[in-house]
Symmetry: C2
Subunit: 474 residues, 2 copies
């Protein structure tokens, strides 16, 4: 480390402490030191720098080193060099204005975010199969051809589309071929690709939606200028007979979100009939189709008519939302428009992750993981039902045949206070009202939507205990 | 494997061959077999199925197994069951209409895609550091907290933002803090987030752009409704003095794309002055800032005023476009709007990949890789220059101080035929005209933009040889 006090006021206008340390040799160190001095304001704008020779002598470095450093900083705009006036600090180099944020306040315990996460939507993050996934990733990386690390195909890797075709046929009754599968980053990305304005829009509204659903999807559609028309729900799912001049309908046929039942067989065929007669299309959000506990999963609606259904799935519930991998299974006529909306090259989904998922599916790790999680979530559901039967037998639990959440039915006028009471108990969850379409023609009653997957295994008992304390008395 | 010929025409209307094989027991096998029979059309719509008892006897399975299978297929909509009419094949189940594509024609050799890829934009895919990246991925996956596998923070992982802050300060002179970095999927994603309509748009046009640049970016901006105003280029880069009422300007200060020079120091300060006086912002596309061959890299413009420059980078050139990882370094006032545009949760960038990149940077693997590639690309550039000096000394080569491409200057009126001649030689590349803004007030002359990175090492000599054959004679 070389130190120097450039302290002639005539030369630089202020004492200047330059420390030549760190990697990369003297020249790099001098550049860093000067830049830092300008940044911090120790070398004020307009200040004239010492001639090469003086600073070189001062620092014990070669004259060329100083000349190079000055030239570099001139090139970067920190210094200016003008004939006759020497090298000066540029007028514009400004110190970084530190984020003027309010200082962090440590909140008191009751404000410190939820202790129990019973929100719907996320799987158990602590159960991510790290070892098996890392093994798939390593294998996939080793086996990949070189071109896999170049610009990607917007359809997604062929390896993954082939693995998905086989898996979706086997596990979900989806009928397709790799050419009709397009990889994406998840369900929201699929909606964006279908209704986005980038390529003129693959689909247009009005779009029929279930009267209860994710507000996040509704907002996304609204932002894309798509008008949504809420379809009432009953015990058989969405009343698809109400569909008329809509161009498309978005459904959760395997497990209505959030109320929880499958779409009735007659409605499954009815909605396909409607789509055929109107030249419309059904969007199938198969968000948790793998998780059905008391009998085998309801097959995908897509299997009834691959030309009338866009089947959309992802690993967000089955594996992890952190991977950002999903897929669209498309009718022939939408393949090219969706690819056009995606662009010339893959701009979204990580190719190594795509290859890892292909290996994960083909090697059977995906099935093993889904089986293991199905067992675990079934156990959680059973514990939820048992605890409620024992401690709050007046509360009906519905929507429990499948998925990662249940609905606790509440007496009229109690939902809002139950959500508040839950917050007081340190529980994060939503009431049914949070999912209701603002123009819904019906109400699904009052209730709490309890996600039983996101909590880690060891924390589940305490979460259920807190939940019981938040429920209205009989 | 159990086989059965259900051959009573009175019962099913056709011979039906059911094969009960595969995983999951008799019931699952029967469901698969029946579904397949309906799919393939062997069981036509409306066909009545045999009573449970008959089929059970036929197949040698329990009656309940058949009843369950029928019920399942009714639930899925394949079959219908009506009082008094038994179980029938549903009317709507249609066989998959195979993609009616023209049969694949094997193209003759000269049509089989380019033999030599000299397009700009992609690094050498064959040089992806598989082993080092896999090691980082494994370490990152092992060290990650559980919450990393839950819904992600739209800002990106803190581990990555800290690593980037340190790296960008050291390698690019960027001044920032982790709170101002937002992870994204690459430069195009950054543009979409800044100019997208989803959240009302963080920035608005008109946007100054360089008169030559990527048409892909121009199209993306046009689709987002942003008006672009082309700035003429000269030997000092973009003539930023022409900026007036634009709200923002998009520049490639380290290495003008595609003509190849750095922005002159006076223009660097001038554009910052403009942004300050107009309350405008500079978008810095730092697409290949790491690759400068004859002196150290030009520091980022962002360092001059972190409150006036949005610095955007990615690993697409330095590591691989397959990873879909980039970053935006933002002035304080844009952080919240950009996060709002991204949404409540990370919807794009793979979290395991983010963690792997953080490890890759912190462990020094990124620096090692960039150094290694800098050496390799410098070697390629030198070979290009040497080969041209020997075989086409009348062709001037410019823009060679940095980056992954050079510009071969051509005599007026020869560019189009040179691009065609290159195609005849099996070379994919673009002429300068491909990058010209349609309303450009100037021309940068004629020339070929030669990317020397994408070709694999072993194929480079042949590519150069072909290139020389495509050049116009003296």
């Amino acid at each position: 480390m070389t130190e120097s006090w450039v302290n002639s006021a005539e030369r630089v206008g202020a004492d200047l402490h330059l420390e030549l340390s760190g990697p990369g040799g003297r020249r790099a160190a001098l550049i860093r030191a000067l830049r830092e001095a300008v940044r911090s304001g120790r070398l004020a704008p307009g200040t004239r720098l010492p001639p090469y020779r003086s600073l070189a002598a001062d620092l014990g470095v070669a004259r060329n080193t100083v000349a190079d450093a000055y030239a570099e900083l001139v090139a970067e705009g920190w210094l200016t060099a003008r004939q006759g006036s020497g090298t000066r600090v540029a007028e514009r180099a400004e110190p970084l204005r530190r984020a003027a944020r309010t200082p962090v306040r440590v909140p008191p315990p009751h404000e410190r975010g939820p202790r129990h996460d019973l929100r719907q939507g996320a799987p158990d993050a602590s159960a991510f199969p790290r070892a098996a996934w890392a093994a798939s990733y390593r294998r996939a990386l080793r086996a990949a051809p070189s071109e896999a690390f170049g610009p990607g195909d917007p359809a997604g890797r062929r390896e993954l589309r082939e693995a998905l075709m086989e898996y979706l046929a086997r596990a979900r009754g989806v009928r397709t071929e790799p050419e009709r599968i397009v990889v994406c980053s998840g369900f929201a990305h699929a909606l964006r690709l279908l209704f986005g304005q980038g390529a003129g829009g693959v689909l247009r509204g009005p779009l029929g939606v279930e009267a209860y659903g994710l507000d996040f999807h509704r907002e996304l559609l609204a932002a894309a200028g798509v008008r949504t028309v809420p379809l009432p729900l009953d015990e058989h799912g969405a009343r698809v007979a109400g569909l008329g001049r809509e161009r498309a309908v978005l459904l959760t046929p395997a497990h209505q979100f959030p109320t929880g039942g499958p779409l009735h067989p007659e409605r499954r065929t009815a909605v396909i009939d409607w789509a055929r007669s109107r030249d419309a299309v059904v969007l199938e959000d198969d968000y948790d189709g793998e998780f059905r506990y008391d009998r085998r999963p309801v097959g995908a609606l897509q299997g009834l008519d691959p030309e009338r259904v866009i089947h959309i799935g992802s690993v967000s519930k089955s594996l992890s939302p952190a991977l950002r991998l999903g897929w669209m299974v498309l009718p022939e006529r939408y393949v090219d428009p969706v690819l056009a909306a995606k662009g010339e090259r893959e701009a979204w989904a990580s190719v190594p992750d795509q290859l890892a998922l292909a290996d994960f599916v083909v090697s059977g790790s995906y099935d093993r993981h889904v089986r293991r999680m199905r067992q675990r979530y079934r156990g959680r559901r059973d514990r939820l039902v048992a605890v409620l039967a024992a401690r709050a037998p007046h509360i009906e639990v519905t929507g429990i045949a499948a998925g990662l959440h249940a609905v606790l039915r509440l007496p009229p006028g109690t939902e809002r206070s139950a959500v508040k009471a839950a917050a007081w108990q340190g529980i994060a969850l939503d009431g049914l009202a949070a999912f209701r379409h603002p123009r819904s023609p019906m109400t699904a009653g009052e209730g709490l939507v309890v996600g039983y997957a996101a909590t880690a295994e060891h924390a589940y008992a305490a979460a259920l205990d807190a939940l019981c304390r938040a429920l209205p008395p009989e």
